[in-house]
Each structure stands twice: as C-alpha cells, then as structure tokens.
Symmetry: C2
Subunit: 434 residues, 2 copies
C-alpha cells in the first residue's frame, strides 16, 4: 500500500548523487544488446557493425585507368603512337597485349591492357591521323612516368584487407564500402526499442486550442521524446499517459515493459503525494532504483531503475515532468545509454569548447545545463560561439530548447567563481546536428 | 549526334571555376520549394516551418505550483497552518479561496488556489496534527517570499507569444512546443525528392563475392548516395544504372526527372568518349550546364545543370564517378542545395576550426577536401582535433571516408605555404553527427 499523505516523508529519502556518480551507474547498467543480421542497406544504417568486414577480392580487380587517355609503354617515351585498341570502361571483350610504339585508348575506370605500364591523359595528346572518325595515331606531348594514372590491382582495397572493423557505425560511406566489396548482409548490434510514457492526471492529449479543461495541461513531453528518439534512429513506442492511480500506473508500465527495452517516463518523481512511479517500480515490480535525485539543474528528481521483466533486463528512466527538464535529462542520461546498448564505443556526447555570447549572472549551487546553439568561430578566432536559446532558462519554459544543438555545462557556484561573463569559454555537449 | 572519337576535344571545353564561383551558382539556382501542410508530428520532423506559430492561450493557463508543498499567504509568515484543501495536479474539482492562517496542499503542476501568493515546498514543513492519515495542520519552518514557487498565468508562454518563427527547423523541441500550444497541423516547406543514378557500362549491381565479371566494378556510389540522402531525412529514389548508350542515358535521365526534383548522378562527366551525360542534358533535354569543371580536389569534373522538365525546374548534379569524389562533392554541392530548397536559412555546413593530428606533406594546387573525424579538445586546449580517416586520401579509396564527420578545407599550395604540419589549425566542414 502507498502510505497515507500525513505520514509521507518530508525530505526525499534519495541521496543527492553527483553527475559523475549518476552517469557511471547508468553506463554500468546499460547492456550491449545482442546481434542481428541486416540484409538490406537501408536497414543497416545507424547500426553498429558486429563483425570485422574483410574484402574477399582486391579492388580494383584489374589494373584500372584513372584518366581518359591512352595506355602506353613508358620506355617508348613521348612522340607518335599507333592506336591499336580500345578498352572502354566495362568493356569485357578480348584483351589485347600492348606492343612497343603502340597505345590503347582507355577511359576512366577501364582496364589497362597487358604490357602497358602508364596512362597518358587525353589532354597531353594530339590527334595525328584518323580514318572514318577513328583514331589511327596520336602524339604524346608529355613523356609518361612509370605507373602514371594506373590504379594497380588491389590499390584501393587489398584482398583480405579489413575494410570495416567491428564496432564501426554504419553510415553512408560504410554502405558504399560494403557495396564495393559485395557485402549485402552483415551482422549488427540490435538497437533498443524505447517506450515513452507520460504520467499525471493533469496531462491530456489532443485538447484543441481554447478547449483545454481547467487545471489540465497538454502533454508535450511524450510527442517531444518520441520525436527525439525517432530522429536519432530509434524505434520509439507511444505508451500513453498513466493517471495518478496505482493500478493504471502499474498497468501502463507493464505494457510498456512487455514490448520495449527501455522505458522513458516523465513526471511522477518529485515529492508529490501522487508520485507513484518509484513505488510501483520498487514494490510492485521488484525493480532496483539506482538513484532518485541528482545534483543538477534542471533535472534534480531524475530517477533511474533497472529490473528483470519476462526474463530480460529493462531500463527505466523516470524523468522529471517539467518539459525542459525532461528534454535535457533525456539527452544527458537516455541518449548515451541507448547508444551504449546499441554498441557505440563512444556513447557520450562530443564535447566542444565554446565562447559564451551572454553573461551568466548567477551560478547555481548545482551544475547547470543551458540550451544554446553553435555559431562558427568569428574571423580571427578558433573557438565557436554559443548563443543562448532564451534569456529565461526556467525549466518549464520549453521555448528555451528551440533550435538548441548544444547543452552548455555551466559549472556550479564556487567560493571563487559566482558568475560567468560574455567571452568566457565553457564545455558544451553536442546534442544535435551542427 | 555525338561526335566521333577522333574529333573529340582533347582539352575540356569547360572553364575551371573556383569553389566560390561554383558554390554561388548552385545557391542561386536552388529554389525554395512550395509549402505543404503536415498534420502529424512524425511527418513534421526535419521540415522548415513556413508560418509564424503564436500561442493562442497563455501557458500555464492557471497559476501553477512549481513544487510539491503548500499554497500559502505570504503575509502569514512562518508557523502553524490549518490544511484546508488539496489541489493535486489535474484535479479540476471545486476551487477554494484561501483564508489567512490556512494553507492548501498542492503538487507540482497543480493550480494554486485563489488568495494564495506563494508555495512552500514540503521539505520546509513539519506535520503538526493528523487524523486518519489526513493532515490537519502543518508548520512552515522557513517563512515564504511573495510569489515563491508559483508559475503565474502565461509565465512559460504568454498569450499571443511567437513560439516558433517561420524558418525554424522542426526537431524534437519544436514538436514539444507545438504540442504544448495545441498545434497538431502546420505549414512547412516541401523537401526535394532526390533521384540517384549511376552511369557506365563497367558498373554492375548485386555481383556476389568472387562473381564480379572481368572489367566490371560493383556500384558503390548509388547505395552510398541513397544512404546519405535518406539519413539526412530526404526521400531518395533509386534510378538505376545508365549504360554508355545515348538512348539509355536519355531514358534513365528522363524517368528520373519525371519523379524527382533533383537528380544526382555519378560518372560520365570526365573526358571519356562514353561520357554522354553533358551531351544529353544540353542537346537532348535543353538543360543549361552551369559548370563542368571546378578547381578542387577531389571533384574536378563536377557538373551542374538546371532546366525545365514538364513545367518544373529540375537540378542535375552530375558528380564524378570516383567513389570518394562522388561522396565529397555530394556533401559540398548537393547537401547545401537541397537544404536551401527545403527552406533552410543557413544551408551551408557549419565550420569549425580544428587542429591537424598529422602532416599534410604536399599541398595540391587545388583546394583539397580531406576526410577526418573530430575528437574533443584535449585537456588545456579549446580547439578540437581532426583525425584523418586514412593516410591514403586518393579519390578512389573509399575507405578514406569511413567514419568521417568532417571535411577539412586544406588550402591550395601558395608561394609561401607548400605543406601543413601537425598542430596547424584549419577550417573543417561538419558533415555528420559529432
């Protein structure tokens, strides 16, 4: 049973963890998922490859011309040559063997005939004699050097070469590499499926403009978090809104756990009498709550739990209900965790050093994460600028996240430092496309 | 008719444009597309919004508590209070008006009753008297200040406030803002549909390992470019391979033009006798070829054409056939163009200043784009590092693109500078997730 309101605790029972402690716990509790086989290029994108891919064949498989021009014998030097053959790209007909004082017309990517040891680009030749539109002889105006403009067999990719190491993220260039070595199926690490749940009787869906019932608020966290995970390439499932009733909270949570690896909820984790989530996780589902408070702004009530459900380990991130807090803590805790589960060897956000373009008048006792967007370094500087996305960075003011691709790591107040000034340089997490 | 090989030009007729000239032409010729209406949040992501979105209602619509605690009257100061009511979040029942010396229990997000002018968090209270688990009176241990822990009406979003300006990219935080103001349908700018075509008799699809016919090469450009555009959120259509026959080149190009706004082809644009693309574009389709050569490495034969097809302006990027050249020029020319067509106000890649971690022994006469990945600034430095993705950056060596999220802008050789050293700082285009 949930205890009566009068006997509720008036202080949070949860120790206030540091950022480092809380992040280390999430990292430790985020398992790399199993592998699966992808057999279409489209399905591979965004996955971490789970095998070393070696090239079975050399590339190119034949000596190939780098230019449109003529395959020649270097020792012939410059001067006039008979054009004895043609090997256009992809032409697979009878191969010729080049004799001294002759040349063969080649084009970019076509094979260089036996006997030839250089290619002279067409720009360095003149037509000498022709018949019916065909070249009879040409003049080479610049004597070739040995091997010039030929890609030898295996020069791009040697036979057996490791072309994509295990652990590499598959993006467009990796698709190109796989295609060029003939691999249309590879083993990858499965990405977690993420269930997004909102909580609270005050939260409603789909209230048209001017029809929001008194005391209610439209759910923005769920659409936003679903969009965040989807835009990062994860399958994200809408798990609805759990009301402030024990049974509904438990049922919604169980439905989410059934089909997802990771549950991301918002709300229901501060000191409210109706904040049932921790209770249900710990007492009803036998999950371990690893932390329930973190020394950070925004995001102090961020809660993280794990447990077994139907034989599989599940992660639950119970984020604060404030829209900005939910968005910020999703970036700080959930994104690195799901990247780790997906096999990323460097799951944390890249850190850049950025120059503030406005003052931070009063540092908080907690480390603070401010929303900003990056602007390229101005002329004469090597350090990019951070433009705050709103002067009011209150945790309920969602417009302060608009356009943000950085989370600035504003240090906590110390004995020596109580404010930051325009031009000060701070660490910034890159959280979006630059 | 295509001219006979003997009478072909031996010098490219195309002037060698500078990067600035060629980029200005592409920018000038890339039209912003028309608007369309998106009515699901999922479909909005990645679009530029085409209208100013104002909030029709204030948010919150009622004075809301920031904490779990008690709504009080500040002038009462500290001390004991009767708990006369409860307003949990989302509770819409009868409103109460607070009288002096009383308080009402509130939770995060719940409305603050009439008469109250501050909220005291539960941590700053003690239970004094209770009956059957209900609170009768509590003690306030820290006297409240006026307005403390209350979000006044409209404090997050004022009624009529511009919450998303026209031209903003819709990402997860913008979805959250739209959801919170009740907008489920907005006007956005259409994104171009991109057709990807390969050219050349030497290019084949789907050749299994050890079954590549002599003289042939697997197509890596098309899978790679399709993956690139898809991963950037564009609809990309596989338009197949055009053989080195005039009719096939024309037919494949026309089919692509019919269903796409932008065609991206690779190959068929150097000095080869079978390089038919420019001929078909100019002579058969009456397109304007704006440039056919650029002073850059890789990517010198990059070709750009526009024309009207069935009443609509179409853009054709005929990229070089070398895999690295195609990938690099797609980032440099095509990506900013399609971003501009999609309405981005800053379509060009963000530039960072990065420190080289290896020497560039010999600068090219052309500006060179080297592939690298970004590493966060080491301790004590504000400048990130660029790690070259391969020591061999030859344009056919596709593995040099692996993992790259930067294109380094290596300056051309000059009278004074002929090489760069480890530790030198250069501009880098950000071309992937950091």
């Amino acid at each position: 049973m949930v205890e009566p309101v009068a006997s509720r605790r008036r202080e949070s029972p949860w120790p206030l963890l540091s950022m480092d402690e809380s992040l280390a716990i999430v990292a430790r509790e985020s398992p790399v998922l199993e592998t699966l086989t992808c057999s279409t290029w489209g399905s591979m994108i965004g996955h971490i490859i789970a095998e070393d891919v070696h090239a079975a064949e050399p590339h190119p498989a034949f000596p190939a011309s780098i230019k449109d021009g003529y395959a020649v014998i270097t020792s012939d030097g410059g001067g006039i040559r008979h054009v004895v053959g043609v090997t256009t790209a992809g032409h697979t007909g009878g191969s010729i063997e080049l004799q001294p004082s002759t040349c063969a017309r080649v084009s970019t990517g076509s094979f260089v005939p036996l006997g030839a040891d250089a290619v002279v680009q067409v720009e360095d030749t003149k037509l000498v004699e022709q018949k019916d539109g065909e070249e009879i002889s040409i003049e080479i105006t610049i004597p070739p050097t040995l091997g010039q403009d030929i890609r030898p067999i295996g020069s791009d990719i040697a036979q057996g070469e490791l072309v994509i190491p295990k652990g590499c993220l598959i993006g467009s260039s990796e698709i190109g590499i796989l295609a060029s070595v003939g691999r249309t199926s590879v083993s990858v690490i499965r990405k977690p499926k993420i269930g997004v749940l909102s909580t609270g009787n005050e939260v409603v869906d789909d209230a048209p403009i001017n029809e929001l019932p008194f005391g209610k608020v439209r759910d923005s966290n769920r659409p936003e978090l679903l969009a965040l995970f989807a835009s990062l390439g994860y399958e994200a499932l809408n798990c609805g809104i759990a009301t402030d009733e024990l049974a509904d909270t438990k049922n919604k949570l169980m439905a989410a756990l059934q089909s997802c690896d990771v549950i991301v909820s918002s709300g229901g984790v501060s000191m409210g009498e109706k904040d049932l989530l921790k209770y249900v996780l710990e007492k009803e589902l036998n999950f371990t709550i690893h932390f329930g408070r973190v020394m950070m702004k925004p995001g102090k009530p961020t809660t993280f739990a794990t447990g077994m459900y139907e034989g599989r380990k599940k992660l639950v991130f119970a984020l604060p209900g404030n829209p900005v807090s939910a968005w910020v803590t999703a970036h700080i805790y959930v994104v690195p965790s799901i990247r780790r589960m997906s096999g990323h060897s460097m799951p944390d956000a890249t850190i850049l050093r950025v120059k503030l373009t406005s003052d931070v008048k009063k540092l908080d006792p907690r480390p603070e994460y401010m929303r900003a967007w990056l602007s390229s370094p101005p002329a004469g500087s090597d350090i990019p600028l951070a433009v705050m996305t709103g002067s009011n960075q209150m945790s309920s003011r969602l417009t302060s996240t608009r356009g943000a691709n950085l989370l600035l790591k504003i240090p906590p107040k110390s004995a020596n430092v109580t404010s930051l000034k325009t031009g000060d340089v701070v660490d910034a997490m890159v959280i979006g496309a630059l």
